[in-house]
Symmetry: D3
């Protein structure tokens, strides 16, 4: 079955995809047609059902559908001209097969996460991390959540992967400088984006929640720490403040919606590690998804520049 990323103009295709968007429209001559967006792990494509006949079965957004048709180029983008479409029954597929996910081995990431928690020496910080990551409701979501709606890590287990890469970078920085509180950096790295569990809805939607739009993942993360710390007897107020500070300051500057800028070296490390991973993952995703071997592979809107792939 063809992956969407491999479709080419003039291909004749039969395959199963997740329907992410569907709208009934009318053309100039008043004839009905349907516009859809199809998705699998490898990408997505717009499709048109120009003629509505027997081969066009009932289906809804977020159904997985079996589709037949041809690939065209329309206004410089590929378009799927659909001749047949049928919804599959929910028990006949695994939704996760149709959503992009982390390329890393999740089990290794999980082991790494718990080894990090075990390595914490400060008992309050350790207890707090356990309260969060041993909380089944939280952990179940943390394992699969994305770290973004789009841009980078916008896939299943993106949050887990991002949190652990940030931790790797943060711990490396702890080694290189004097007087850094390693436990605080580690907790900051693991928790800095925990508010994304509330800011973004679960897959397949993976979109901003009301709460996300009104409060945001920085303050939601800070609030989670506040609530969890309350449940731990004698949790030091100053430690709660420092952890909340690290989360609130991790975007680094006011203009990136941080209500505080990093004021201790631990908060600065978490911010820098997060920023490093954001920029580098963005580039890695662009480089690995490009079919070019080397040279300028296209314009990146986020970075606002052409990107060059190097191959010595």
């Amino acid at each position: 079955m063809s992956l969407i990323s491999e479709l080419k103009p003039q291909d004749t295709v039969k395959g199963n995809y997740l329907c992410k968007y569907k709208q009934l429209l009318k053309n100039k001559n008043g004839k009905d047609y349907i516009s859809v967006r199809l998705q699998d792990q490898s990408g997505s494509i717009d499709g048109k059902i120009w003629s509505i006949h027997l081969g066009i079965g009932a289906f809804e957004v977020n159904d997985v559908v079996e589709v037949e048709g041809e690939i065209l180029v329309y206004q410089e983008n590929l378009q799927f001209n659909i001749n047949k479409i049928t919804a599959l029954t929910e028990d006949s597929y695994d939704l996760r097969d149709y959503i992009p996910h982390s390329a890393k081995d999740i089990q290794i990431l999980e082991e790494s996460l718990f080894k990090h928690i075990d390595s914490v020496e400060n008992p309050f910080i350790k207890k707090l991390l356990e309260e969060v990551f041993y909380d089944e409701a939280i952990y179940k979501e943390f394992l699969v959540h994305s770290a973004a709606k789009s841009v980078h890590h916008a896939y299943i287990s993106g949050l887990l992967e991002h949190s652990l890469t940030v931790t790797e970078l943060g711990l490396k920085m702890c080694e290189l400088y004097e007087g850094v509180q390693r436990d605080l950096v580690l907790a900051g790295c693991l928790l800095h984006d925990i508010g994304k569990l509330q800011e973004l809805t679960a897959f397949p939607q993976n979109d901003y929640s009301d709460e996300g739009q009104l409060i945001g993942h920085l303050v939601l993360g800070s609030e989670l720490i506040h609530d969890k710390a309350k449940t731990i007897p004698d949790f030091p107020l100053h430690l709660e403040q420092l952890l909340k500070h690290i989360v609130l300051a991790h975007h680094g500057e006011y203009e990136y919606a941080s209500p505080k800028r990093p004021k201790c070296i631990e908060a600065m490390i978490v911010h820098l590690a997060d920023n490093n991973d954001a920029k580098l993952k963005l580039l890695e995703e662009m480089l690995t998804s490009s079919p070019e071997k080397e040279g300028f592979i296209g314009f990146n809107k986020i970075l606002n520049r052409n990107i060059c792939k190097v191959n010595l």
Copy 2:
């Protein structure tokens, strides 16, 4: 007894003032002298004790002292040349006599506050306001706290005065536009700076707390709403989110340390009312404290411009 704002070069003065700063120094010839800063309701002045003799009694920062000496001009500022100084006993004065306070009648402000709370129709918003302002520990502080370390409303009851002026402005805006949720605006106006109770320490210090520097009054206020809402049975989650949004967004733009920008008209009103009062109180304080009748009265550093006083 002379108010500091009325001291003039060459005055011989005897008076009581609050000592805000004290340091033992040495002059070029190795002789000890003491540098102090004295304050009353009307302002503050630097002082020097050039010669340490019997008339110079023991005193500490935040003591009220009886002082005798003369007023000089040194590098374009007034300076108090102190000949005698004695600490008063704590029961012989009221500290609040030596700290600037609101020019408004506090009792009228209090009545106004409770009338506003009574006017709320939504039972959950009303209950939340009562949980905050009927909480004795909070209310006692709210009555006397400043709204700033300096800049504007940096005096006793400044927070109370500011919150109520913002409410006046916010309610006026509610009248002028369709479809505004008045109860939400009112609660937002009264609560928007409530986190300043934690951000700034009480008088006579009135300085940024650690918590203030690490978390900030926007998130502290949002957290207070979160904690109080939890104590109210069935408090609607969406309402809690909206109230927190209003507090988190009241600085209006990211660069002023708001983690969210106003997304509903109620949050926009609270932001605008707060901004109006900040700018206008700043100007009012400058105009009323200037001895000039009209014309350009000096440069305002916050606004970065010369200010003109008008008298038709």
Copy 3:
């Protein structure tokens, strides 16, 4: 007759609308067709006349036309597929029926305007306001002019409505602060946008004039004050300067094209009141025109954010 705001896909429509745009084009096959834009009080819609036959009468831009046809969706927007179109004779309609106008009662606004002018105590300011608003040529236009080409108050009597709301807000601020010259604030509020009479052409065009593009409404307003003040014997030069300052400074900052920033509290009040109304009217227009009861109702390009409608 159907209001444009109420048209839906697949409607068959017959109605009268103002033609705002008309162009003869050719399709791929070299066949002529006509593209138009139709408007009424409630909004506007693009239309196509695909086939030019007897039912397509002569008509020009700014004619009111009787139209028959069907409503389609084209590239996510509604489109009027026109089968018949005829221009109405000029005496058979009132142009103002086809242009959006203020939702407020104009007579009440007028009464309010003159009560404000009557309340002025300073004889020179009062005389100047009378010279402006009792000038028949000015007043006739002031009653119907918009306050903007688009964005907010872009409708008949928008300037009148905006000027009076700004006045309401400005006068409220006068009450709340010491030492504000009320007469100056009032005149500033009423006159701050008077230059828009020259900056924007009258309806139905309501577009930037050459003068508007080269000089702008701030300087045009300042010039009007200059010219009117000259006609009043003994008009104090300083008062003329202050009034011009208020008008020139009402955008608040250089980057919003103000050649001066507010330097007296009166100019600051006019600027803040204007800014309040601009932001809040923009939101009010979006909230009242949205069919949604509550929740996020769409992205606002001017404010660059999603907007949330609240309904407790």
Copy 4:
């Protein structure tokens, strides 16, 4: 008699200078002393009269005084230790000898000005220039006014010199491009800063007037054109608008307090020519006043960088 720019530490000096500042102060021991600022064409120096005795005659700010004393270094600046001081009678000196002035030959500048006016072909533009520069009250001031309070051209005839250099540059640009209206550029260059006659008071003060602070030289210049154009029969409105546009737009960008940005090539030329002269005169003044032959000669605050003098 020693020029102030030539004074050195330990010099014993007797000379005549203009007193720009005078204040009676008290030292630590309560003894009176006087602080002054003295000026001549070459620069200015602070002075102190430590002991007030018979040799210290009566004198006021803006008097020319005969002074005797010695030159010291105090906190890295020269200071004049005054032993004797006497005011000269007003008829015994020419105030202009004590104020810096243009290094150019004024008569040549004047001839150049009138040759430029004569060269104008458009009769309305020519008439307008004559109304301005043949107006005796304006011309008398134009000949001596500075073009700035400080920064560059802050000397007698600075405005004349600046206006003519801008004209030279503007006319050169007219030669190099197609379709430029030379008369409009010429008038724009000569008139662009004419509002400085009102913005800055005459020498010896040369300081911002109230009008300057409230209205500014861009709008004041535009207003002068407006008033003069009215006196010329049939002056084309469009031409008045273009001339006002050029003056209002000559700072080039909103953030430099231009209410309009240049929209025609003629306005762009005037803006660029003005900007060129501002930057280059600033550097020329710094280079010619530096005693160094070459190399880095110091930090320029306006340009915010070290400046290098080149000598091949």
Copy 5:
């Protein structure tokens, strides 16, 4: 033969043009069609070959083709509906006839260039200019290269024309100020954009090279000076540094990708002259290409404003 700039809707056209772009596409019904872009000295136009038949010969990008067809309007732009197309043989045309070029007389520009070089008095600067412009490989390219990919001077000999206009402006500034090193300014003007020979590929591509994207013309120009200076015995290091500084600083500010800002008056002159020509050439190109006689002729995206053409 019709120039592209003169094509109008409904024209039937037969002519020769350069093919700049070609792509085989499929329409909705799966039928192949070809999209092209055609260009001549006067401009460019999109074209479609809807039907691929015998009249459609083989042709490639950068071929000159003979084309027949009709001109339509599609989505507000002209479009060439192509019926016949044939590639011309390479020896039957001069590629330069199909690319826009400078309107100036190239021979006069060349004479002017060498007269400028001859006028240099400093022997090292003169030698360096000769090393560059007498280098046949460089000079051959310099004569025809553009000064930009688009925006302004994006035509054959654009670099030559731009360099000489900048020189004219720079030399005029040298006349007007004291103490400017004319030879350095002249060399700076002639060399400031020399790195564009490497930054942009030759015509007909005229696009950014890899080197251009990775290094940029400022550093490439500085490097050329470095390499050429090395070949001149005893070339003073300080002079090399100054020339490189002028080239590196000619964009004036960091945000325009200058790694240094102008620190000597000579660098400032080159920067200002370059900036003047960039802005004015942009406007001249817009004014001369507009068919309107006067008035607002359209929106300029680079300057972000409407442009007004003046005709007194």
Copy 6:
């Protein structure tokens, strides 16, 4: 002998220090005195020689002097009241004892440097690194040079230490992402600041050279790569361009004086690693030099915020 960092008010001191500044001045009474600045590894202090007598020997800037005197507080800073001063002979001390230096073991840093070079697989990159670091003149300076005039790493071997920490961080990032060219990152990290050898003069001056001010270390580093690459047979042009790009882009954004922004992931890594070390070293220097155990330890001007030291 007392380290400057350990001096306290009222100490009587005898010690050897490097004289960094010396000026002969006159006090109010015309008496000569000398102002100096003394420095050792631990910091620096201002000093005054109020009375010039036999104990005051001849000495110059950059001499090491033996000094006797007392420590006072003057305007909140320590001041050294010097009674005796004598220059030591040059052979009686090691200048490096009086200049701050890296706290790291230099031999370990050197070993690390060469191990990194050995690890390079690409023969051209390896050869280029050897050409630079095996060049005796370069290497001798590289070992001792600072990485800054002030701010961070402004000490002996600061450049070496900084380059290696950046390398550590860069190599960690190489491990974490797919498809990164490790050799290029490694070379970029080691070479990114190599231009500082020319930008800053050697110790004891450690100040900006003319070349540094006119060209800057980014372009100077790029030029060094250019010159060294030329000496290596068949060095690939594209590789030279990439290495120069990495150096030119390492400040990340135009406003930080990078003429190019990072366009390949390798350049991005070098930029991020450099930025990480700059921010974290700055904080580490502040934390380790503060005598406080924890809490807010003062305002950092570069970061423009109060800094908090954490101690769990």
